[in-house]
Amino acid sequence: MSEEITPYQVVPKTPLAGSAAADIREQGEMTRRSFPFVITAAWLALTAALGGLASVLGRFMFPNVLFEPVQKFKAGFVADYAVGEVDERWKDKFGIWLVRTEETVYALISVCTHLGCTPNWLPTQNKFKCPCHGSGYYKSGVNFEGPTPRPLERAKISIDPSDGQIVVDKSKQFHQERGEWTDPESFIKL
């Protein structure tokens, strides 16, 4: 009986190794054996492509350059600040209150620890008061009224050895409730 060639069969020209791709190339159609490999590879490729696309889109939303005030700045000399006062000169630009006491200088970050508004320093009442929901803090930054769950944060503060100026670095914060206010980087000892 002569061999008939249907339109779906191609006579193999060269015997190739039995890989799935070779099967397809030789026979011109997918076999039962090659199908699972091909479909798995296709799904993996699609998943990888979509995953890559999602990561790129996600990363794109995180900017590399910020048009915000720098996190670290020089704040002049200790002698510029009066003892017992809350100094507001850096509040607008850098969001920092510098407080000098008899023995220390510390930098409070002017962000309410409740929901992120900017509290006001009320000298007559000797406290920080947030206008959004009424959280109140002592001069030390410790909370005593309103909805806030914890004290204000302090920023890293030091004296630049080259010129003797105060350096405030907001990128490192110190939390009182974690016992970090005893860290020597969280205040300047006078």
């Binding site: 995180f62 910020l66 969001g95 990128s171």
Partner: protein, 261 residues
């Protein structure tokens, strides 16, 4: 009278008329149904509706009102975009100009009141659907689409809230976006975020957490304004429009507006 009829037939048989309307005037109920089904515009409304579907005391017409208000917001919002610039130099003064200088200074107020009304209408629609049991099978899927649409409506309100760039807007978004700080694993104050460390350096902090990605910075600023503007005018309306298409289509496929139990 014969001449009026002659004019009518002349119009209906003209090439212009025939080029617009694919079928002639349907003169039987069957042909009328087919004419509605075969027309892109007309088929948006069902051929038949339940008696309860047109009873105001049953539907409150709150779904239709929500969609109508979405259209109002689209049109008025599009008009506002001709005058409003989403930058910190111009945003607030442009809002003032929209009220004081733009023709028909009411356009911005319409957009604002329409937004309030839409939030109320969506809630009432949801309440009606709940009270009539219209979330039950086969309509569970559409209920879930509706819940997502509710969230998108609230997000549209939230993103639009920032655009006037006044004190109320800035602090409201400061407070509202603070929620993202508590995202588990991705917000710098969220649970489990403190566990993601390299040595003793926390990898999730104010400069790279979920809130940072949302507002494009550590605090509300120019990047946030532009970001919320794009979300408000393009991204969320596109998603909401797509889901609304599914929502309306499923109402029809699930058997039309549900009847009284």
């Amino acid at each position: 009278m014969a001449s009026v009829r002659g004019i009518q037939e002349g119009i209906v048989n003209s090439q212009i008329w025939k080029s617009v309307f694919r079928v002639g005037i349907p003169n039987t109920n069957r042909k009328r149904v087919l004419a509605v089904l075969g027309s892109l515009i007309l088929h948006l409304h069902p051929v038949k509706v339940r008696r309860s579907g047109v009873r105001m005391s049953y539907t409150w017409c709150m779904g239709g009102t929500s969609f109508f208000l979405f259209l109002v917001e689209t049109v008025t919002g599009l008009l506002l975009m001709f005058y409003y610039r989403p930058t910190i130099e111009y945003a607030f003064t442009d809002i003032m100009d929209l009220r004081e200088q733009a023709p028909f200074g009411i356009m911005r107020e319409m957009h604002r009141w329409g937004a309030h009304a839409m939030v109320i209408a969506v809630w009432l629609h949801m309440f009606r659907v709940f009270m009539t049991g219209s979330y039950k099978p086969p309509r569970e899927f559409n209920w879930n689409v509706g819940v997502i649409l509710l969230v998108l409506t609230l997000l549209l309100s939230f993103t639009g809230y920032l655009l006037p760039w006044d004190q109320l807007a800035i602090w409201a978004i400061t407070v509202g976006s603070s929620m993202a700080r508590a995202t588990p694993g991705a917000g710098n104050e969220g649970p489990m975020s403190g566990l993601i460390k390299l040595g003793d350096i926390r990898l999730i902090h104010a400069g790279d957490d979920a809130r940072f990605g949302l507002i494009g910075g550590r605090s509300i600023g120019a990047a946030t304004l532009l970001r919320f503007y794009v979300l408000h005018c393009v991204a969320i309306p596109l998603v909401a429009g797509f889901l609304m298409a599914i929502h309306f289509w499923r109402v029809r496929k699930d058997g039309g507006i549900s009847g009284p139990l």
